[in-house]
């Protein structure tokens, strides 16, 4: 999760008047607690990323407490030493249930290691019988699938990490 995504998440929590929010996924733990209008954010990434095809590039300020709305901005979200491949997160635009296949029993749209093109369908998020086909924003290789078939997901929740092709 980069600084911009974090800012969007916090704006969303303020807009929906959500007082407390916790997210734990893989090696990233995020906790937001609001007192009045000033959110208090703890964003923790463990030292060793888990199985990754390429390192997720994190803001440098992310290992402590960050103040994303104002305060200091990390100098750069990509280190110059990063490989040619950066992991790109595809996120859910709606609250709903994650489906890996077009119908039960069909093969999944994509698997880890698959090459995908921009616009290719990665999964379906469904809520209230509204099926949202999630397309890839980038061309690259699916490095990680961050959710399980049938799992409920929140607005803005990362679904896939894609190693973007440059």
């Amino acid at each position: 999760m980069n600084q911009k995504e974090l800012k969007e998440l916090i704006e969303f929590l303020i807009e929906k008047d959500i007082a407390e929010f916790e997210l734990e996924r893989g090696d990233v733990k995020l906790r937001v607690k609001r007192a009045g209008n000033s959110p208090e954010v703890h964003f923790v990434q463990s030292a060793v990323p888990q199985v990754m095809a390429a390192p997720i590039v994190m803001p440098q300020a992310a290992t402590g407490a960050a103040t994303p709305a104002g305060g200091h901005t990390p100098e750069k979200t990509e280190s110059p030493a990063a490989s040619d491949e950066d992991l790109f997160l595809v996120k859910s635009p709606i609250v709903g249930t994650y489906y890996e296949a077009p119908s039960p029993g069909s093969p999944p749209f994509v698997k880890v290691g698959d090459t995908v093109e921009t616009g290719q369908i990665l999964c379906i998020i469904e809520a209230m019988k509204l099926m949202n086909e999630i397309e890839s924003d980038v061309s690259g290789v699916v490095a990680k699938i961050l959710v399980k078939n049938g799992q409920p997901v929140e607005y803005g929740q990362p679904l896939f990490a894609i190693a973007a092709r440059k």
Binding site: K91, V95, Y99, A127, K129
Partner: protein, 268 residues
């Protein structure tokens, strides 16, 4: 009723000022939703309508197929390009059901029930169903397709779905003009959609949708239901939440139904 084909020529004079300028009529098609989604991806304008006399592979939620005999039902899909934020787009699902409810009541004078989020019911049998498909990213909605299927003049259904399905003809013992019902349906969709699709300020529309849904649906409050998600649970419905999700009071506490799969428990 051979003149009761759902052609643009038959429908357009009945649509008044509604937004539907492009109406595509098919004798048979795989799925009107698929055709509308493909057209939307290729740039079809808002309000483009896809109607078929018969669908070979009409689709429902989770890949369920939808039985459609020729010339007896209504299978219609509409392309929308809402200005709504992705967070508000789920209301499309509820207005589609309300539109069908209103249209049927206005023509047939019998109001069907709504099973959350948008199944059109008589008793425990399904009269119609809705499938909404969306192309959106986290920031904006590119386009949506609302597909509505209504069983109108079927005299009977195949044995395997006879217990589950019904038609207006079976319920009222007479045939109904599909053209009139389709026009009423499109006009309802147009009215509901215009009220909701006010960029940034759908609040008034949303409270009206919730209120009218709870009035139209015997499932919304006080119904004993079984919910087929989150491992399956039973409880009593306690209305819709601020996002339009159904709430159920279960033995394990208050639950929010995300998808559907709500069945009424038969009272003994």
């Amino acid at each position: 009723m051979t003149d009761d084909l759902l052609t643009p020529e038959n429908l357009k004079p009945l649509l008044g000022g509604a937004m539907f300028r492009e109406i595509h009529h098919f004798t048979a098609i795989d799925s009107t939703n698929s055709a509308a989604m493909q057209a939307a991806a290729a740039g079809a304008e808002e309000g483009s309508v896809f109607i078929a006399e018969q669908q070979h592979s009409g689709r429902g939620r989770g890949g369920h197929s939808w039985h459609s005999a020729p010339g007896t039902g209504i299978y219609v899909s509409v392309v929308l390009r809402p200005k709504l934020s992705p967070g508000d787009v789920l209301w499309l699902s509820l207005i589609a059901g309300l539109s069908a409810h209103e249209a049927i009541e206005s023509v047939v004078s019998v109001a069907p029930d709504l099973r959350w989020p948008n199944d059109i019911m008589f008793g425990q049998q399904k009269l119609g169903g809705i499938l909404t498909e969306l192309n959106a990213d986290v920031h904006r909605v590119n386009y949506a397709v609302v597909g509505i299927g209504i069983n109108v003049n079927q005299a009977e259904f195949p044995a395997d779905i006879r217990e589950l399905a019904t038609s207006l003809r079976i319920e009222t013992d007479r045939e109904w003009p599909r053209v009139e019902i389709t026009a009423a349906l499109l006009k309802s969709v147009d009215r509901e959609y215009r009220a909701l699709n006010v960029a940034g300020h759908p609040a008034a529309a949303i409270s009206s949708i919730t209120e009218r849904f709870e009035k139209a649906s015997s499932y919304a409050r006080g119904a004993q239901v079984r919910v087929d998600e989150d491992g399956g649970y039973s409880g009593r419905t306690v209305g819709l939440d601020a996002r339009g999700f159904l709430r159920v009071e279960s033995a394990a506490g208050l639950k929010t139904v995300l998808s559907g799969g709500v069945r009424k428990l038969v009272e003994k």
